[in-house]
Symmetry: C2
Subunit: 381 residues, 2 copies
């Protein structure tokens, strides 16, 4: 099997799998229980929380970190609080990219009212547009790596620029696709909140997280209430086994050296794939640059990507025709439109996404099979 859909979901890191199965068998108590079993689990959860703060150089005086059940929940929490008005201020504009993850765009559409949201076109990059946008800005939603295109935004630089202009402007970063893959530092404490996801970086489904600047906590409005868990910022039973498993993955993947080594390795895979594919199927386009090496969007003209996905899967090769969360959307893909891909090409897009567990042999095997299938299918068009 060749699996190039790691941006949709990636296998558990072996250490995370081992930790999870051990923990599921033994760490069954409720970390909020007052007895020793509960207290001991709670202590270990706090240790993992500390690890997550350390991983992005966030000082405990600046940031809290809360575990959520999904990146969608983390993003929704911030949108509903900041945009949905529970923060108490509804004046000022919200800027975000229409190509952002739907847990940002759809929640802003739903809770943002009709007037205060402004969606910026352009492949997930607010960088260049930002100078024109600062005036009247109340909050900005950034995505460090766009889940559809792979485009990287320099969120630290953008946050600095915004905070220089006005420190009150709220800056949220969705780092679900980039955590443990692209460096992120919260040392300067200019970003107000950051969403991360376990299932995109070797952790299990069912757990994710939210960094939250402590200065903002006094006005924070939890999405889930009823129980004092997560420092009273998020209710519901603490999922200790999943947290421990994710902690094991981040211990293995989150260090600067490991991150850089994996980045270089995946860059080599990505470069190899593009070079080989350009040679064998020159008509294939790579519409984006400044991308994370972990995600490669390609356009294969004339052949529908759904058909390609089906033919590839017959050979046990798995790729995506869009992000999983919009895989059932028919017709125009709004994310692709926002990213500047012409409507006529939407049904020719494939998203390949990698992990350090992929190999050069898999890349070569993929290109061979892709070229084979593509040329066969071309004959029928």
């Amino acid at each position: 099997m060749i699996y190039f859909d790691h941006a949709a979901s990636t296998p558990l890191h072996p250490l995370a799998l081992k930790q999870y199965c051990e923990s599921l068998a033994t760490d069954f108590a409720n970390p909020s229980s007052a007895h020793r079993l509960g207290r001991s689990l709670n202590k270990r959860v706090e240790e993992v929380r500390h690890l997550f703060l350390e991983t992005v150089a966030a000082r405990e005086v600046d940031y809290d970190f809360i575990f959520t059940a999904s990146a969608t929940e983390a993003n929704n929490t911030i949108v509903r609080w900041i945009v949905g008005g529970s923060e108490g201020k509804n004046d000022g504009r919200i800027y975000y990219s229409c190509g952002d993850h739907p847990s940002i765009t759809e929640s802003i559409a739903r809770w943002g009212g009709s007037n205060n949201g402004r969606c910026v076109e352009g492949g997930g990059k607010l960088d260049d547009l930002l100078d024109d946008l600062l005036d009247g800005l109340r909050a900005v939603f950034l995505i460090q790596v766009n889940n559809s295109s792979g485009v990287i935004s320099d969120v630290e630089k953008i946050a600095s620029k915004i905070k220089n202009f006005c420190p009150d402007i709220y800056v949220h970063v969705d780092a679900a696709q980039s955590f443990c893959k692209i460096p992120l530092s919260l040392r300067k404490a200019e970003i107000d909140s950051v969403t991360i996801s376990a299932q995109k970086c070797g952790g299990p489904k069912g757990v994710a997280g939210l960094y939250l600047k402590k200065k903002r906590v006094s006005t924070f409005s939890p999405l889930l209430v009823g129980g004092g868990q997560e420092h009273a910022l998020r209710a519901s039973t603490v999922n200790a086994p999943a947290i421990f498993a994710w902690g094991a993955a981040v211990s293995a993947l989150g260090s600067v050296s490991e991150l850089e080594q994996n980045y270089r390795y995946v860059t080599r895979l990505n470069d190899l794939l593009r070079a080989q594919l350009s040679a064998k199927v020159p008509v294939v386009q790579f519409p984006f640059y400044s991308c994370s090496p972990y995600i490669l969007l390609i356009i294969a003209p004339k052949v529908a990507s759904d058909i390609l996905v089906r033919h590839l899967e017959e050979r046990e090769i798995y790729v995506a025709s869009s992000a999983a969360c919009s895989s059932r959307v028919k017709g125009e893909n709004k994310t692709f439109s926002a990213m500047g891909i012409a409507n006529s090409l939407h049904k020719h897009v494939l998203r390949l996404s990698f992990s350090p567990s992929n190999t050069e042999a898999e890349i070569l095997e993929f290109v061979k099979n892709f070229a084979d299938i593509y040329h066969q299918l071309l004959e029928f068009t």
Copy 2:
């Protein structure tokens, strides 16, 4: 170890543990992915969804079932929709018990506005009070088994009475503590929604569920948005491995015969404990009747329950002094007050909760140790 805190969280059923660890290793894809790995997971998720509908005799024409990440999320979803006004109607009163789980009471307090919620005192039972409450009623929140007291409400009977009076009144049932333990049938389709929890019945933390009457779906407002998962009723990546694990537990525990057999067995444990404890420590009180045998609240006068918990844990015996979600609340316990326990006794309450995996030998061992510790501590008071 003797673990009598199963209402806080209970070990995974052996079949659930086996299924979960297998699934974590192999079912890593995203069930929303369009390729075969995704489609195959999605199909299996739909099969488990069907199992959950069957387990409570809910017809697919009447009910949908959605997987959430926690019972707190499921309860919050209904409160925020029905009480928080996103349903569009804010007239009429909301009735609930002040002794309900905080994911109900706190969320109503937060989103219910100041005028339309009415909290009913009395141990989690609305049954007897209901006749006086029907007039002007818009929605009622019931708890089938109160998590603190164990008191059972006949939710099917109450729902019938309410729907007889006016079919529009919304009826929600929190069955987090009772699913697979106390019979519940949705065959008559009088209950509008039901919350259930995996981690209270042999499934893992990180997954729970919500039955939702299809007639109500047209006005439904999801708590989490951004992705068409769960029939477009709840966004975020579908946690397939956790769902499969919970499905394995419910296959084993959810049948009528298994449920009845476990009920009889746990009733015997509960009866034995009360008889033995009354004989050895006659001063201990059992303040509630009409209770689930799975939960036994006791009051041990003169000795603080926190001290008892600590001494018991020294002997590897684990019980709760309150529900885990309010274990860090100091002073008056609002839930206990609502249940009619005098303030002076709040710090003498212990909650014991059982599972079919407990044994008569553990009951006898517990009573022996409890009597021993209690009499020792009495000498210091």
